[in-house]
């Protein structure tokens, strides 16, 4: 298999599937694809703490699990706190000579609700204390598992059950919370955005995160056909459109230095991304223009940050 050879650059064993088939994610779910890809890089020597959310429910309906790793289901609020505890325990056991000194990856995973709303306090604590852990936010831009409620990561204008559009409502009335920048503000070694539509970029970033001796925060845009109201086969393409229109830029921040990891020569209009998604169906031309302006100014800001922080 040619592709396995290519992947050897990023991971020990590209054929390893740590997220087994038989999970119950919807058809075409790019959130579970993000997990499949991420854990290929992280490998066997890994412990996972995961908040409730789609990925917990679809992976582990007791007594069944698709995980082939030590995995613990934690409460909504405390993914990063549990991951911190696991990391500290590993350090102590190593110091006491009770386990080998070969480092074990400690990974916390939560959705956008579990990260940008409910688990934010625990996450901030973990990042600030400097634990060596990798925190992955799977951002499908709403509380999907409970039937599509808005989170602070839901994009402006999107329709959810708790941000319904109507005569007096555009849908989601607030702009998406900038979680990666909140992580950057903790001055941690590594922050990155990623999307399974760009697998090699994603692999690269997880590989870097794995090697850091401190906290890493990886924010993965995870297209959810069910909540976004798009056909299941379009999940990869919509991730691509999100990146190419500048709505979800792929970048990394290594020790405070911002770098675009994929820079389209010209951005496609956000309309190309928005149209075709049921959650944005109600938006008028004027509203789409407003979104376009916001994307343009955010894009410029990000480019400036790359310039300013260049060593």
């Amino acid at each position: 298999m040619k592709i396995l050879k290519t992947l050897e650059k990023y991971m020990e064993d590209p054929s390893l599937e740590l997220v087994a088939s038989g999970h119950r994610a919807c058809q075409g779910c790019a959130e579970v694809l993000a997990l499949r890809m991420a854990f290929k890089v992280l490998g066997k020597n890994t412990i996972v703490a995961m908040a409730t959310g789609c990925m917990e429910i679809i992976s582990t309906p007791l007594p069944i699990t698709c995980w082939r790793l030590p995995w613990i289901h934690v409460a909504f609020e405390n993914t990063a706190a549990v991951a911190s505890g696991i990391e500290s325990a590993i350090r102590i056991l190593m110091a006491k000579g009770k386990i080998d000194k070969k480092w074990i990856n400690v990974v916390g995973v939560a959705g956008d609700g579990g990260t940008s709303d409910i688990g934010l306090q625990a996450l901030s604590g973990a990042l600030e204390r400097g634990h060596r852990l990798i925190y992955i936010c799977l951002d499908n831009e709403a509380y999907m598992n409970t039937g599509v409620q808005r989170s602070s990561s839901t994009p402006y204008g999107a329709s959810t059950t708790t941000s319904p559009p109507g005569k007096k409502s555009i849908g989601q009335s607030t702009w998406k919370k900038d979680m990666p920048k909140i992580a950057v503000a903790h001055n941690i070694p590594y922050v990155a955005t990623a999307c399974p539509s760009y697998p090699f970029d994603l692999f690269n970033k997880l590989k870097k995160a794995k090697e850091k001796d401190g906290p890493s925060y990886i924010h993965i845009l995870s297209v959810c056909p069910t909540g976004w109201r798009i056909p299941s086969e379009m999940a990869i393409e919509y991730g691509r459109l999100a990146v190419r229109c500048g709505m979800f830029p792929l970048y990394e921040v290594e020790d405070g230095v911002y770098k675009m990891t994929f820079k389209p020569d010209t951005l496609i209009p956000v309309e190309e991304y928005i149209k075709g998604q049921g959650r944005f169906r109600h938006l008028t031309e004027k509203e789409i223009k407003e979104i376009q302006q916001r994307v343009n100014s955010e894009w410029e800001k990000l480019n400036k940050l790359c310039e300013i922080t260049k060593p």
Binding site: M1, A20, S21, G28, P63, I64, T65, P199, A235, I236
Partner: protein
């Protein structure tokens, strides 16, 4: 795992709800959800592996000859493999189960 999920009673669960069989989800055949299935025209296939890489269910699997085929037990028929194949080698067809 010894028993099917439906046959489990709460008394059978391990203390702390520990699952001691990693990856036992294999017993759950998500192929039953499928309406369409991918059909590959191997004369167009370059063995690039993108269909394998993008399958959310790890249902598109390599064969001994280097080509790929969807696993009937797990393919949910999402159509991603067909959509993402750069060589238009995969078509989604009705699955007559």
């Amino acid at each position: 795992m010894a028993k099917k999920m439906e046959e489990y009673k709460w008394q059978d669960l391990n203390a702390g709800c520990v699952i001691d069989e990693p990856g036992n989800s294999l017993q759950y055949k998500t192929g039953e959800w499928r309406i369409l299935r991918p059909l590959t025209d191997y004369s167009k296939c370059t063995k690039c592996g993108l269909c394998w890489l993008f399958c959310p269910d790890n249902a598109m699997r390599p064969k001994e000859d280097g080509f790929f085929a969807s696993h009937p037990d797990y393919c949910k028929g999402c159509g991603i493999c067909a959509q993402e194949c750069k060589f238009e080698a995969i078509k989604m067809v009705e699955d007559k189960k």
